[in-house]
Structure formats: structure tokens, C-alpha cells
């Protein structure tokens, strides 16, 4: 038995379809434009002829960028920082979240608010900068990028609520069998927590991949830059030309900028359709627990 669809309902469905199609188009258009530019000739781009597809199709821009040794250097830095930073962050978050998830630990009454408070009030940009650059002397080292944001309190709370949901009996049984606290964590809790560990790795990895401000204020040596910071320089440099300064950067054409942006985002664009569900799960889990 099918309910008869009223006329106004039909009109609504059509309008809704149009709105959705529009959202999809508007969301994707900047990427389409970027890709179209990166495969077009400089002349066509400079004349403003490109809008949806490449004009005077060429792969010369990509060949040019991919021939640059520094591009690989920056890319390798990003990968390196991503991997190391993720390992540090996930490990630190896990060993903090685990004891915080145990209700029987009485000092958690202090430690949990101690961590949560930092979500609402933080030291601010300058004290952080002074701490990292002038007190700990981490300026121009990779630690300045990896350490200050090592633990995200939001991620900490996600992991804590996951640990809290693990069946207590398994750990109790292992303890009765004479297993120590540390072995219980590494041999029982960690294997059971693969889903949340994978989610955390993704969260931190994407954050590190896109990070540019930390490197921007702390890394003086260009060979240490991640690719995002290099792209920023390309974009800004070429912009200065528009504003009438920075003659040195005038070699950077719009097509080079576009191709670099495409190459920087490519891994994320390729991977995110498959991993977005973990992010969504993490978001909703965090919301439930607050």
C-alpha cells in the first residue's frame, strides 16, 4: 500500500533535489577550477579563459613542479612530521586517557577538570610562543611543531570514553591471573582499542598534514618546512606581485600555485571518502560524552 504523494510534496522534493545539486556543485567547484587551471596553459589562465575544464591542455606545470627537488623535500617533511607527530600524540593521549577512564582512581576528580579547563581558557599565543621559542629553545626544531599541540583535550575525552566502555571483567581476570598493570594495558587494553586508536591516528594525522602556523612562526630554515608552508609562500609571493612588490617571486605563475595546491591536497582528497566515517563517529561520540 503506497501513500499518495501530494502535489506540494512533489514540488518540495524537486526543490530539495535542486538545492542539494547546488550544494554539491558549489562545494566541488573550487576544486574543479583549481584542477582545470593546473592543466591549462599560462596564457589561457592569465587571460581568464579557464572556468570548468583545462584550456590549451598541458601537463608542463606538473612536470615543472615535480622536477623541483625542494618540492620533494617539503613533501617528505610533511610525511615525517605527520608520522612522528601522530605516534607521539596518540601514545600520549592513550596513556593519559587510560587512567582517567578508571572511576576507582580517586585523584581523577582533580585530574579530569584539570585537563578540561584548558579547553575553555588557554595561555594565548604570546606566552606559548615565549615558552617554546625563548624558554625551551625549541625554535627551528621539529619539536616546536610536534610538542605544543601533542595532546588535544577533545581527543583525550573521546579516548577516555572509549576506554570507559571496555568490559572491566577482562582486565580483572587478567589481574587475577597475575598480570601487571602495564601488561594489562599493552596486551589487553591496546588490542581491544584498535578502532579508537585508528580514529585518533586519523584525527592527529590530518591536523598535522594541514598544519602551517606552527612551522610558520617557529621554523626559520626553509629546508625544514612542511609542504603547506611552502604553498603559503607561493600563494603570498604571487600575491605580492599583484600588489606591485616582490619581483623575485614573479616566476611563480598561477598554474604553478594551482598545481602545488592540488598536489598538497591530493592525499587527503583521495583518502577522505574512505575515512570520513571515522571522523563522523568521533564527532558524535565526543558530543555524547561532552
Amino acid at each position: 500500500m503506497k501513500v499518495k504523494v501530494s502535489k506540494s510534496r512533489k514540488v518540495f522534493l524537486v526543490i530539495n533535489f535542486i538545492v542539494m545539486a547546488l550544494v554539491v556543485f558549489v562545494t566541488l567547484y573550487p576544486f574543479i577550477y583549481l584542477i582545470a587551471q593546473s592543466f591549462s596553459s599560462d596564457r589561457a589562465v592569465a587571460a581568464g579563459k579557464v572556468s570548468f575544464y583545462p584550456i590549451e591542455f598541458t601537463t608542463a606545470t606538473y612536470k615543472y613542479v615535480l622536477k623541483k627537488i625542494e618540492f620533494y623535500q617539503f613533501y617528505a617533511n610533511t610525511i615525517l612530521y605527520g608520522i612522528f607527530g601522530t605516534i607521539i600524540s596518540v601514545a600520549a593521549t592513550a596513556i593519559l586517557a587510560y587512567p582517567l577512564s578508571k572511576n576507582r582512581l580517586r585523584l581523577n576528580k582533580f585530574f579530569i577538570p584539570f585537563c578540561i579547563f584548558t579547553m575553555y581558557f588557554s595561555g594565548g599565543m604570546i606566552p606559548n610562543y615565549i615558552l617554546v621559542a625563548q624558554w625551551l629553545h625549541l625554535r627551528d626544531t621539529v619539536w616546536a611543531i610536534l610538542l605544543p599541540g601533542a595532546i588535544s583535550t577533545f581527543n583525550l575525552l573521546l579516548m577516555k570514553s572509549f576506554f570507559a566502555g571496555l568490559p572491566e571483567e577482562l582486565e580483572e581476570a587478567a589481574a587475577i591471573d597475575g598480570m601487571g598493570t602495564y601488561s594489562i594495558f599493552t596486551k589487553i587494553v591496546v588490542p581491544l582499542s584498535k578502532p579508537i586508536i585508528a580514529t585518533m591516528c586519523l584525527f592527529y594525522l590530518v591536523g598535522l598534514w594541514n598544519e602551517w602556523f606552527g612551522p610558520f612562526i617557529y621554523l626559520d630554515t626553509k629546508s625544514k618546512w612542511p609542504v603547506a608552508l611552502w604553498v603559503r609562500q607561493l600563494v603570498e609571493g604571487a600575491n605580492n606581485v599583484e600588489l606591485g612588490s616582490g619581483a623575485e617571486e614573479s616566476q611563480i605563475t598561477t598554474t604553478i600555485k594551482s598545481a602545488s595546491m592540488v598536489l598538497t591536497s591530493l592525499p587527503i582528497i583521495c583518502v577522505y571518502p574512505f575515512v570520513q566515517k571515522y571522523f563522523v563517529k568521533g564527532m558524535t561520540m565526543g558530543a555524547v560524552k561532552g
Partner: protein, 318 residues
């Protein structure tokens, strides 16, 4: 019920408590050792910078003690409160973030309601996946794209000249800054912002809709009288977060990537002002004072929003 049975005098109670606390730590010390490194991290990288705000009241010289050298009281506060460019940044921060929330908030809610009406699940999944994409893209790339799209050779200007209009150098015009900032912000956040609404919608009892349909309520009425009340706690929570973040959540990094000397008067926000004065300009104490001012207003806002919400609705952050 048996509360008065275990009543002890204050001192007895506290002696007993501290004694058993020691016993408790002795018993659980191995678990507590997990905390050492991460809590040290929190102290060093979160709480020391908090304490470092003290240099807002003290003179700080590069390389000296992180907590400064001599007390100067409210000197730096008096200085920035008299600075015209601070007040410009202050006004810009409020203007940008309030107008951004005013547009993004309803847009996200409406988009979530419309998504919820999609009956073709595959199409719905597709729209959702696409709409999440901007959330994952680096801010550097997002801002690079913005500059190209609104640039003189970009598609918007091509369209304008197609219609016979004069090209506009959007990125160098102060009055266009908020439009660029807000539009691109909605583009970035629209899809991602629906997640919590859609999750909340799935927990609404379907029978309510069936009953309403039998009573002859159309989809619009159902949305207004069932869906929206059903997700009200989520709406309120997100609204508290937004209002609490009015001072602090304007995306300083994004403004830093998008503005330039030509647009600064309308684009400069407190975050970029602090950056320019402090990190770029080396006036650390002055910039810290401004940052502290912002942080405290932010804390007051989020606490107030939370208290109000607790009072008038059932939802709150803590």
C-alpha cells in the same frame, strides 16, 4: 537515607580521608604512573603559558625569565585601551564572528533538515560525503583557492565581465573582506556542521511523525513541531559554543592568510593584532595583555552562555 549513620566530625572525617587516600595511592600507584608524562605535558605546555600571562603586568625582555622582570601594573592595558587600532580589531572581531554565526548557524540547520528529507539514501550519502570535503582541506589551500576564485582572472570576475560589468579586485577591497570571509566559512563548515544535527534526528521517535501524518500535518509542520523540538538540546549546545566563542573563534589563521595591508582596516581581528604586535613586532608584554583581555572575555562569555542555557533550557556544557 542512612546519611546520618556515617556522620563524622569534620576533623575525624578529613583524617580518615587523607589516610585512606594514601592507602589508595599506594594500592594504585602503577596506574598513576601513566599520568606522569601527560600531566607534565599539560603543566608545561598548557598551564605554564597560562601563568605566563603574568607578563601582561610585567616587563618582559627577550631571553629574560619567562615570567618577566619588573611589575608595571596595568600599564600595557592602559596602552592598548587607548590604541585606536586595537578598538578597530575589537570591532572587526565582533562584526566578523557575529555575522558569520548569524549566517552559518541557520544555514547548517536548514541544510540538515533538507538532508533529513532525502529519501534516496545513496544520494544522501553522496551529498554528505561531498559536503564534508572542505573540512579536511588545509587552510593554506582553502585561502589559496579563495584568492584565485575572487581574483582578477578568476571565474567571478569572468562572469562579471561576461555581463558587461567592471572587474573588481575583491581581495584588495576592505568592504569585501567580510563577505569573502563569511561565504568561504559557510562553504567550509556547512556539511560538517550537520553531523550532530543528523545524529540527533535519528533518535527522534518515528511514531511521532506517523501520528502527525495521520493528523494531516505536512512535512513543514512536522519539521517545525517534531524535528526541531527533538533536536533542541543539540541546537542549544551548539549555540552556546558559538556564543561562547564569539571573541575567540574567529579564525585568526584564516584572516592572517587572507588579509593584506589594503584590507587591514576591516579585516584585522584581535588574533592578528596580537600576532603583529607580539610575534612580528616583539612587543611581547603588550600583545600578551591584549591576548589575556580577549581570553578573559571569552571565558566570561562561555560561562554566561552556559549558565543562561542551563536556566532556560535543559542543555549545558557542564
Amino acid at each position: 537515607m542512612g546519611k546520618d549513620k556515617i556522620e563524622l566530625t569534620q576533623t575525624q572525617h578529613s583524617i580518615k580521608k587523607s589516610h585512606s587516600l594514601l592507602k589508595h595511592i599506594k594500592k594504585e600507584w602503577k596506574l598513576y604512573t601513566f599520568l606522569i608524562i601527560p600531566i607534565a605535558y599539560y603543566i608545561i605546555f598548557k598551564y605554564i603559558p597560562m601563568a605566563g600571562n603574568i607578563i601582561a603586568f610585567r616587563k618582559y625582555k627577550g631571553g629574560s625569565n619567562i615570567f618577566g622582570t619588573t611589575w608595571v601594573g596595568f600599564r600595557y592595558f592602559n596602552q592598548f585601551l587607548k590604541d585606536e587600532s586595537f578598538w578597530k580589531a575589537f570591532a572587526n572581531t565582533l562584526r566578523l564572528s557575529i555575522s558569520y554565526i548569524a549566517i552559518r548557524f541557520p544555514a547548517t540547520l536548514i541544510f540538515a533538515l533538507l538532508l533529513n528529507e532525502m529519501k534516496n539514501l545513496k544520494a544522501k550519502k553522496f551529498v554528505q560525503t561531498v559536503s564534508y570535503l572542505p573540512h579536511f582541506i588545509s587552510l593554506v589551500v582553502v585561502c589559496g583557492m579563495i584568492k584565485e576564485i575572487v581574483g582578477l582572472t578568476g571565474p567571478i570576475n569572468s562572469f562579471i565581465s561576461l555581463l558587461g560589468g567592471e572587474k573588481i579586485a575583491f581581495i584588495s577591497l576592505p568592504n569585501w573582506f567580510s563577505t569573502i570571509y563569511i561565504t568561504s566559512g559557510v562553504w567550509q563548515a556547512l556539511g560538517w556542521g550537520t553531523i550532530l544535527y543528523l545524529t540527533a534526528m535519528t533518535s527522534i521517535n518515528m511514531e511521532l511523525y506517523e501520528a502527525a501524518a495521520i493528523d494531516g500535518a505536512g512535512k513543514l509542520k512536522q519539521a517545525l513541531h517534531i524535528t526541531i523540538p527533538g533536536i533542541m538540546p543539540t541546537i542549544m549546545t551548539l549555540l552556546i559554543l558559538d556564543i561562547g566563542g564569539i571573541m575567540t573563534s574567529t579564525n585568526m589563521q584564516k584572516v592572517l592568510l587572507l588579509y593584506n595591508p589594503l584590507t587591514q582596516e576591516k579585516a584585522d581581528i584581535i588574533g592578528t593584532y596580537v600576532y603583529r604586535m607580539g610575534i612580528a613586532g616583539g612587543n611581547f608584554s603588550y600583545a600578551t595583555a591584549v591576548g589575556l583581555f580577549e581570553g578573559i572575555i571569552g571565558l566570561i562569555l562561555v560561562t554566561t552562555a552556559n549558565t543562561l542555557s542551563k536556566k532556560f533550557t535543559e542543555s549545558s556544557l557542564w
